[in-house]
C-alpha cells in the first residue's frame, strides 16, 4: 500500500514535468485537473490507511475546492476566453527539462540532510513534493503568459497540500479551512484580474505587462 502511495506522489511530479513541456494552454489546464485528481486519490488512500478525523476533513475540503470548484471555474474560463492559442516557454524545452531534473536532485539531497528525523516512507514523498513545488516555480518563471503563471501557482499549492499530507496528518482543521478559503479567494481575485487584463489589452501576453521599468 505504501508503495502505491509513493507511486501517486511520483505521478504528481511526472505531471508537473509534462506541464513544463506543454505549449497549449488547454493541455496545461487538463494536466492540472488530472494532478488534482491524483492528489485527491492520494488523500483517500492515506485516509484508508490511517483513519483520522483531520484527514477526512482535509479530504473533504480538498475535494470540494480542487475537484469541484477549480475545474469548473477553469473550464468556464477556457470557454469564455476561447483559450486555444499556443504559448512558448522562453527557454528551449530540453534545457528546461534539465533544470527540472537538477531541482529534483537538489531536493533529494536536501531531504537526505534530515534523514534521521523522518520515517523512510516519508523521505521519498517529502523530497518529491518539495521538488514538485520547485517545478511549479519553473512553470511560473519561464512562461510569458498570465494564465500559465496562475496554473503554476495552483501546482505549487497542490504540492504544499501534498507535503502537509505526507509529513503530518494535516493541520488542525480550522487552520486548514482558513488556508483553503484563502486559496479560493485568491483564485477569484486572479480571475477578476484576468478579465481586467483581457479587457484592457486584448490578450494575456505578458509583454503588455512589462512597461514599468526603472
Amino acid at each position: 500500500m505504501t508503495s502505491f502511495l509513493l507511486f501517486l506522489v511520483s505521478t504528481m511530479m511526472m505531471l508537473s514535468f509534462l506541464m513544463l513541456m506543454q505549449i497549449r494552454i488547454i493541455n496545461l489546464i487538463k494536466l492540472l485537473i488530472i494532478q488534482n485528481i491524483v492528489l485527491i486519490s492520494y488523500l483517500i488512500f492515506k485516509a484508508i490507511i490511517y483513519p483520522k478525523f483531520e484527514l477526512y476533513l482535509s479530504l473533504a475540503m480538498t475535494f470540494f475546492i480542487k475537484i469541484v470548484i477549480l475545474p469548473w471555474a477553469l473550464w468556464k474560463f477556457v470557454n469564455y476566453l476561447k483559450l486555444t492559442q499556443h504559448i512558448e516557454p522562453i527557454m528551449n524545452k530540453p534545457t528546461l527539462q534539465f533544470i527540472g531534473i537538477l531541482l529534483v536532485i537538489f531536493s533529494l539531497l536536501l531531504t537526505y540532510q534530515i534523514e534521521p528525523t523522518i520515517e523512510k516512507q516519508a523521505l521519498a514523498s517529502f523530497s518529491l513534493s518539495l521538488a514538485n513545488s520547485l517545478l511549479a516555480i519553473l512553470l511560473i518563471l519561464f512562461r510569458r503568459e498570465a494564465i500559465s503563471q496562475i496554473i503554476g501557482l495552483l501546482v505549487m499549492e497542490n504540492s504544499i497540500f501534498l507535503l502537509s499530507a505526507t509529513l503530518t496528518t494535516g493541520f488542525p482543521w480550522l487552520v486548514e479551512l482558513g488556508i483553503g478559503f484563502d486559496i479560493l479567494i485568491g483564485f477569484m481575485i486572479f480571475g477578476l484580474f484576468l478579465f481586467r487584463i483581457r479587457t484592457t489589452h486584448g490578450s494575456f501576453h505578458l509583454e503588455h505587462l512589462e512597461k514599468l521599468k526603472e
Binding site: 540532510q113 503563471q149 509529513l167 503530518t168 482558513g178 478559503f181 484592457t200 503588455h208 512597461k211 526603472e214
Partner: protein, 485 residues
C-alpha cells in the same frame, strides 16, 4: 470583555458596515471614525500589556498580545487612523469617473480588510493563522493597488500578486515543515502555537528548523522586499493610490519583518541562533546597498521613496540581525520613526500628484513657492527620513552604527556607504524640485482640509522622537527580545 476582542471590534464592524454604505462622504467619515475608535481601544490594550508581566491571550491562545505585538499594535492603529483621515480629502479630490461608486465602496471595504489582516498577523500566536492573515492582507492590498484599473496599475498589481503569491507559498511550505519538526514533541494544536514553539524549541531537530526558517525567510522576505525579491515593491508603491502606498510602505513591510522576527525568536533558543542572524544581516546589507544605488536612477517621486523603503527595511533587518540590546533599540526606534516619516512623505507626494498631475522629478519645479505648505512638508519629511538631526531617524541610524561598531567593526563601511549614497540621491532630487523662481503650474484642489495635518502631526512626532527618544515605548520590547518571554 477580553481587551483583544474589544480592540478588534471596530475593524470587524467596518467590514460589516462599509460595503453597504453608498454615500461617499458618509463612508469616508465612518471609516475614519472607526479607525479612530480602533486607535482609542488600542491604547488600553497597549497599556495593559506593558503593565503586566504576562501577555493577554484570546481564543484558545490563538491570539496573543505580548509586548512585541503591543508595540506594533500602537504604531499600526495610529498610522491607520491618520491615513483614513488623509484619505477623506484625497478621495474627494479624485475624479468621480475613475473612482465611481462601486470602486469607492471597494476601496473602503478592502482598506479595512487590509488593516484587519495586518492586525491579526500581529496578534496571532498560531503560525497557521498568521499565514492566513498575511495572505488576506496581501489579497486585500492587491485589490487596492489595482484600484485605478489603468494598464500601469494592473501591471503593478499583477506583479505583486504573482511574486507575493510565490513568496507566500514558500512561507506556507516553511510553516508546514516547522509544524512537522514539532510533530513528535507537541500535540496537534500546540505544534502551531508560537509560545509553545518558543519554550520547546531546543528539542526540535536543528536541520528541520533551519530548512523551515529558510523557507519562511524567503516567503515573508518577499513581502519585506529583500533584494533579489523586491521587484513588486516599487511598482506597487508607485501605481496605487497614495494612502495605500503609505500603508504598504509604513506598515505592511514592518509586519512582514515582524513575522520573520517571531520565527527568529524561536530559533534563538536553539544552537542555530547565529544562522538566522546571519541571514538577516546578509539580506539587510544586500538590500541596503542595492536600494542605495537604485535610488540614484529614479526619476519618479513615488518610486524614489519606494526604493528608500527597501533601503530602510535593510537597515532595520541589519539591526535585528546584530541582536544586541543596543541594536534592538536602534531597530525599533527606526521602525517607529521610519513608519511615521515615510507615511508623511507619501501623504505629501499624494497631494503633489493631485495638484501637478505628475510625479516626474524633472517636470516638477519650485514646490516651496507654488504650494508652500505642501512643498515645505515634503522637503522637511524627506530630510527627517534622510536622518538629518533633530529627526528621530538621526538617532536610530547613529545607534545602529554604534551597535555595528561594537560587534562587527568592518561592517560599518558598507553601512555608511549605503547611507551616504542614499542621502546624496534623495537630497539631490528633493532639493531640485523644491526651489526655483519659476514654479510649475498647478491645479488648486477642491478639498485640502485633511491633507496637511496628518503630515504635520507625523513630522512633529518624528522630531519629538529626536529630542526625547521614546525609550519607555521600546524598552519593554527590547527586554522581551533579549531575555525571552
Amino acid at each position: 470583555m477580553n481587551p483583544i476582542l474589544l480592540f478588534l471590534l471596530p475593524s470587524m464592524l467596518a467590514l460589516v458596515t462599509l460595503p453597504t454604505i453608498a454615500n461617499r462622504s458618509l463612508a469616508s467619515y465612518w471609516s475614519a471614525s472607526l479607525s479612530t475608535f480602533s486607535f482609542l481601544l488600542a491604547i488600553p490594550l497597549v497599556i495593559h500589556t506593558y503593565a503586566h508581566a504576562h501577555p493577554v491571550f484570546f481564543l484558545h491562545q490563538w491570539l496573543l498580545c505580548d509586548k512585541l505585538s503591543a508595540f506594533f499594535i500602537g504604531l499600526n492603529s495610529f498610522i491607520a487612523m491618520t491615513t483614513s483621515f488623509y484619505a477623506i480629502s484625497y478621495l474627494n479630490n479624485e475624479s468621480h469617473t475613475t473612482l465611481y461608486r462601486l470602486i469607492y465602496r471597494f476601496y473602503h471595504s478592502f482598506f479595512h480588510l487590509f488593516l484587519l489582516g495586518m492586525l491579526i498577523v500581529i496578534l496571532s500566536n498560531n503560525i497557521g493563522l498568521m499565514w492566513i492573515a498575511m495572505e488576506l492582507a496581501t489579497i486585500a492590498s492587491v485589490v487596492l493597488v489595482a484600484l485605478y484599473q489603468n494598464s500601469e496599475a494592473l501591471e503593478a498589481a499583477w506583479k505583486y500578486l504573482i511574486l507575493c503569491g510565490v513568496g507566500i507559498g514558500f512561507a506556507l511550505l516553511g510553516t508546514v515543515i516547522l509544524y512537522f519538526a514539532t510533530y513528535h514533541y507537541l500535540t496537534e494544536e500546540q505544534g502551531l502555537l508560537w509560545t509553545d514553539l518558543l519554550t520547546n524549541a531546543s528539542h526540535f531537530s536543528v536541520k528541520l528548523l533551519a530548512i523551515a526558517f529558510v523557507f519562511l525567510f524567503v516567503g515573508y522576505g518577499t513581502k519585506v522586499g529583500f533584494f533579489p525579491l523586491h521587484n513588486w515593491l516599487p511598482d506597487a508603491h508607485a501605481e496605487g493610490p497614495s494612502p495605500i502606498s503609505a500603508l504598504l510602505s509604513g506598515l505592511l513591510l514592518n509586519i512582514a519583518l515582524f513575522a520573520i522576527l517571531r520565527f527568529k525568536l524561536v530559533l534563538s533558543h536553539t544552537e542555530i541562533a547565529a544562522f538566522s542572524s546571519h541571514l538577516l544581516l546578509i539580506f539587510g546589507f544586500l538590500s541596503l546597498l542595492f536600494a542605495a544605488f537604485s535610488l540614484l536612477r529614479q526619476h519618479k517621486l513615488k518610486r524614489l521613496f519606494a526604493y528608500s523603503s527597501i533601503e530602510h527595511m535593510g537597515l532595520i533587518s541589519i539591526a535585528l540581525g546584530i541582536g544586541t540590546p543596543l541594536s534592538y533599540l536602534a531597530g525599533f526606534l527606526h521602525i517607529l520613526t521610519h513608519s511615521l516619516s515615510k507615511t508623511a512623505v507619501f501623504f505629501s507626494i499624494g497631494s503633489i500628484l493631485q495638484r501637478f498631475h505628475t510625479q516626474a522629478v524633472n517636470q516638477l519645479k519650485g514646490l516651496t513657492t507654488a504650494v508652500p505648505l505642501n512643498g515645505w512638508c515634503l522637503l522637511l519629511c524627506s530630510f527627517a527620513l534622510l536622518g538629518l538631526p533633530p529627526s528621530g531617524l538621526f538617532f536610530s541610524e547613529l545607534l545602529l552604527i554604534l551597535a555595528t561598531l561594537k560587534t562587527h567593526m568592518w561592517l560599518v563601511i558598507p553601512l555608511i556607504l549605503g547611507l551616504a549614497i542614499a542621502f546624496i540621491a534623495i537630497f539631490y532630487k528633493i532639493q531640485s524640485i523644491s526651489f526655483s523662481s519659476y514654479p510649475t503650474n498647478f491645479h488648486p484642489l477642491p478639498d485640502s482640509q485633511q491633507l496637511d495635518w496628518p503630515v504635520i502631526l507625523h513630522l512633529g512626532l518624528v522630531i519629538l522622537a529626536g529630542f526625547w527618544i521614546p525609550v519607555w515605548f521600546i524598552q519593554p520590547v527590547i527586554h522581551l527580545l533579549t531575555y525571552g518571554v
